[in-house]
């Protein structure tokens, strides 16, 4: 099997996300694009899984706690073979399809439905506790948004992770600096996020969330307790047309899609 470079996978995932933005319903564009490198490193380098056997017992688990970024997750699952990219683009929001605007567990590769914020860390703690009790070593990765860290249930769950030294658990925060109503700093500051994660007992590192090598190294570093990775990212990253300031939600017309794809270096039909 030919190894596709991770950079190429990231570019293809972004291409799919842009196509989903150009459907009649659009997508949470900024936060889908900001986490592409996180998902590429997880699925392409770190995690064990079988795309044709999504419930494989030895798989590592990915929980997208920021479930509004469904387009980003679906596009990544398509890139890694869980679903078909063309089927995803054609049936996104189609009557009866599983591709809803917030993450749907009916999509292969999705462990839990999310979209209401503040659930992923607790679900991940539960998986890690459950695997430990069964003496299994499966790892669990939870991707949160920085705005989402306003939800208290995340912090409840991290206390439990620390108390039980859940080294199988990694929480990644996609710190893109934006949330629904505007800049996170202007609404509910997460400036002390790294310090707070550490104070809650999480082994925490801060990395450039678009640096594939830095992310991979952080995820592979041995750790004897629960780990957090604060990934500094930009909304709309990777699409030059958006200049790293992608909108929280967008519905593209055909011309916007053509320009966005062109700025990715894509020749559109």
């Amino acid at each position: 099997m030919v190894q596709v470079p991770l950079e190429e996978r990231a570019r293809r995932i972004r291409r799919t996300i842009l196509r989903l933005a150009a459907t009649s319903v659009g997508c949470h564009l900024g936060g889908s694009l900001s986490m592409v490198e996180l998902l590429v490193v997880l699925l392409g380098r770190v995690m064990k899984f079988r795309p044709r056997e999504p419930r494989w017992e030895e798989r590592d688990s990915l929980i997208l706690s920021k479930g509004h970024a469904a387009a980003g997750l679906y596009a990544a699952l398509a890139e890694f073979g869980f679903v078909d990219t063309e089927d995803l683009v054609q049936r996104y929001n189609a009557d009866g399809s599983p591709f809803t605007g917030h993450v749907n567990a009916a999509v292969p590769g999705v462990e839990f439905p999310t979209g209401s914020l503040g659930h992923g860390v607790g679900l991940g703690v539960g998986l890690a506790l459950g695997y430990r009790l069964r003496q299994r070593s499966n790892r669990v990765f939870v991707v949160c948004g920085d705005g989402e860290m306003g939800e208290g249930s995340n912090w409840e769950a991290m206390q439990v992770a620390a108390q039980h030294r859940l080294s199988q658990l990694t929480v990644l925060v996609d710190r893109n600096g934006g949330q629904n109503d505007g800049p996170t700093e202007a609404i509910l500051s997460q400036a002390s996020l790294v310090e707070r994660l550490r104070a809650f007992g999480m082994s925490t590192v801060e990395v450039d969330g678009h640096d594939l090598e830095a992310l991979g190294a952080a995820l592979e570093e041995p750790c004897d307790g629960p780990r957090a990775i604060v990934a500094n990212t930009q909304k709309g990253a990777g699409v030059p047309m958006l200049r790293g300031k992608g909108p929280h939600y967008a519905t593209f017309n055909a011309e916007q899609l053509r320009r966005a794809l062109a700025s990715l270096g894509e020749v559109t039909p």
Partner: protein, 346 residues
């Protein structure tokens, strides 16, 4: 100290009635703990999660320490964690008080248990006003209305120790999310012959033709039986139905009771809005039965004055004497009812 298998005595699973006779001082919530501990002896998938309300001397914690996790005071996280653990193949029982399980963690219950179809059994005590003197923060008068509205939830409210054992066993045997509602205080054993317990199937505890009394739970069923006895002394015959499973709702049993009697009465330790009373009214109206329903329950207000559990119930009319009066007042007299339409037409 009590034990689910005393050296002298009966085994909880094989002889539950004998076991209960040897443990007369246990509240249902303690019976649940012994039952789960005994079930965990034979079912390795069972896990019990707590949010700092296990109390001392929990038999499950003593016998199965590796499968008992006291997470601390974090009910919302507990329910998410329960769903995560269930996804790794465990049957997760999560316990807390009803106001915190059904309401503080309500959205976790909705997302993970109901929508996510997790194999999690949420077990809550302090149902209704049983927390009495602890005040409305520790009462749960809205929980059944909320849980009943969640698609896919099984909602069970056992009446006594035997039914608590039967219900707990049944929950373990079924796949999917459950809300098991218990009270806080010791209750009497129902002194009545009863049919076999099956989730989702109401049981008729007494036949009668004038009044159909439908009840659930520790307070509801015993009040219903007492009311039926008192009505009999006044020449009124009452059918008593124990609807221990509020969801799935045994509508057939309700309609059958409506057809066989002239007045329906619901008795429950829950708000008169949205619980059993609401459910029975929905069915009766939907089927166009035109039957009046007397709803005995907790009135639509928070009760913040101190008092015993019994005193609080009395304030809300949840006691036999007051209910008998309401029933006799509401009971239609057959001949007058038959004449009424003609009189109106005239």
């Amino acid at each position: 100290m009590t034990s689910s298998t005393t050296s002298s005595g009966a085994d909880l699973l094989t002889s539950p009635e004998d076991w209960l006779r040897e443990q007369p001082s246990l509240a249902n919530r303690q019976v649940f703990r012994h039952t789960l501990a005994r079930l965990a002896d034979v079912e390795p998938r069972v896990v019990l999660l707590e949010a700092d309300l296990a109390g001392g001397g929990d038999p499950f914690a003593a016998r199965h320490p590796g499968r008992f996790i006291n997470l601390g005071i974090c009910e919302a996280a507990m329910l998410d964690i329960a769903c995560g653990m269930a996804a790794t193949g465990h049957v997760v029982f999560a316990h807390t008080f009803a106001p915190f399980g059904a309401m503080r963690a309500c959205e976790q219950v909705r997302l993970g248990l109901a929508y996510g179809r997790a194999n999690v059994k949420l077990v809550c005590d302090y149902g209704g006003l049983s927390g009495a003197f602890f005040g409305p923060t520790h009462h749960a008068i809205e929980d059944l209305a909320i849980l009943r509205a969640m698609p896919g939830m099984t909602v069970v409210s056992p009446a006594d120790g035997l039914e608590t054992i039967q219900a707990t066993r049944a929950l373990l045997e079924m796949e999917g999310p459950v809300y098991l509602r218990l009270g806080r205080n010791r209750v009497s054993r129902l002194d009545v012959a009863r049919p076999a317990f099956a989730l989702g199937r109401a049981m008729c505890l007494r036949e009668g033709s004038d009044v159909g009394i439908i009840a659930h739970g520790e307070v509801g069923v015993s009040v219903a039986l007492d009311v039926a006895t008192r009505l009999e002394a006044q020449g009124v015959s009452a059918r008593v139905v124990n609807l221990h499973t509020l969801k799935p709702f045994d509508e057939e049993a309700i309609l059958e009771t409506a057809e066989r009697t002239r007045l329906l009465v619901t008795v429950e330790e829950h708000s008169i809005l949205g619980g059993l009373g609401g459910a029975v009214c929905e069915s009766v109206a939907t089927h166009g039965l035109g039957r009046r329903v007397v709803r005995a329950g907790i009135q639509d207000r928070y009760d913040s004055t101190a008092g015993t559990h019994e005193a609080l119930l009395q304030r809300h009319g949840l006691e036999s004497a007051a209910l008998v009066d309401s029933i006799l007042t509401a009971l239609p007299r057959p001949r007058l009812t038959a004449l009424a339409p003609a009189a109106r037409r005239g």
